[in-house]
Amino acid sequence: MARKGFALFVLSVSLLLVTASSGVIRAADDALPSKSDASCLKCHEYNKMPATLAGKLSDVSVKANAIQLQIDKEMEVVHFNDATVLKNAPSVKEIPKQESIKVTYFKKDGKSIAKEIEVKKGIAVPKEQLATVEEVAELVAKGPEKGKYVLIDSRPTNLYDEGHIPTAVSMPFFAFDKMAGELLKDRDALQIYYCAGFS
C-alpha cells in the first residue's frame, strides 16, 4: 500500500514537472515497453529498465529525423530531435550502421521519440591483450604451426562459413564450453579471438 502511494506521488510530480517545463503532457515513461536484443542482454538488464530499447542501428534518416533499430528480428523506428541527448557519437548521422545502441524514449502523438541515444562502447580489453591487424597478418602468413597460434572465430558458424580470416578455426562463443576441450589443447600456443568487431 505504502509503495503504491509512493509510486503515485512520483508519477504526479514528474507529470507536473513535464507539464511545467515543456507544456507537453505525457504518461509516465515507466509504462512504455522496453525491448532489447538478445546479444545485449548477455551483459545488461535493459529489459528491466523503463522505456529502453537496445539493439543494432539498422538505418538513419536525417530527412525524417528517424532511426531504425534492429532488435533480434524486429525493427523499431524512433524519432529524434534537438533535445535528444547523444552519447559517444558526434552526430546521429555519424553512428556507423550495425553499431550497438541504447535508446531511452517517450511517446508523443503516437511517435516514439528518443530522449537519449547512447552508442555502446563494447567490452574493454586491456591494451596488452589486444592484437593488431598487422600482428594477425604476420602470424597468418607463417601459418598456425610455425606461428604457434590458434586463431579463433567467435561468430556463429554460418558467418564463419561465408567468410573468415585464413587459418582461423570456428568456435562460436555459444559453443565455447562444448568445443574448448577439443580445440584448445596446446597450452603454449597463443590464442587469438576475433569476431565482427566492436559492436
Partner: protein, 256 residues
Amino acid sequence: MLSPLAARKAEKLGFSKVKVFHAGLPAWKKAGHPVVSNIAGIENYDKNEASYILIDLRSKDLVERGHIPKAVMLPKEGIASLKDQFPKYMGAAVILYNQDGDISSAQSAYKEISDWGYKQVSVLQGGFNAWETAGKQVTKGPADTKIAYVRKLMPGEVDLAVFKEAVAKRPSEVVIMDVRTKSEAEKGTFPGAINIPLDELEQRLADVPKDKNVFIHCSTGARAEMAYNVLKKAGIDSKYLKVNVESDQGKVTIEE
C-alpha cells in the same frame, strides 16, 4: 563483442597466452587482407535461396572438365570485363575459386572486386579440389559467361517490376505512398500518390488506406523501410521499395 567474452572464458580455463583481435573481421578486410569461405558457405546460400556470384578463375580447359554449378567463367579479358554485370548491391556475396584454394593467385581478382566496393568477397578454401573431394555436384562443359545475380528481397520489400507496374497501371486496389518530406514530394511524385512524410506517419495513420495494397517509397528506401515498420506495428500491411527515386521539376524517375 563476442571475442572478448570468449577470451575471458579461456583465461578462466587457465590459459595465459590469450589475445583479442578486437577490431576483428571488418578491420582485416579494411587493411586489404583476403577472406576465405568454405563449401558450407555456398551451401548456406543455396539453402536460403540467396543469390551469390561464383567466379571460376581457372583456364577454360579446366573449367570445361568440371566446375562448381552456378559458376561464371573468368573471361580472358580479365575480371574488369565482368564489372558491368555486377549488381549495384555492394553486400552481394562474391566467391572466387581456383584449383587448390591458393590465396596468392586469387589475390588480384579479390583486390579488384573489393576495390569496386563489394564487401562480401571471399576465396573458396581448398578451391575446386576441396569441392570435388567432398563429393559435391560438378558441372561439365562450358560455364556461364553472364552473372545472374538477383538480390533477395528483404521482408516487406516490393519487387521493382511489381512497383513499376502498379505505377503504370494505377490499379484501384493499389496506393502509392510517398514518405518523403512535403518539399521533396512537391518536386514531383507519382500520379495519384499520397504524401505522408515519415515524421508525420504516426499521427496520420488514419490517412493510410486500409482496403488497398500500400506501396511505400522515398528517395532511397531507407525511410520507406521505416514507414513499413511503423505501419506493421500499427497492424497495417504494406510493402516498400528499396530503390532510388528522384524528383526534379515535376518529373519523378525510378533508378534502374
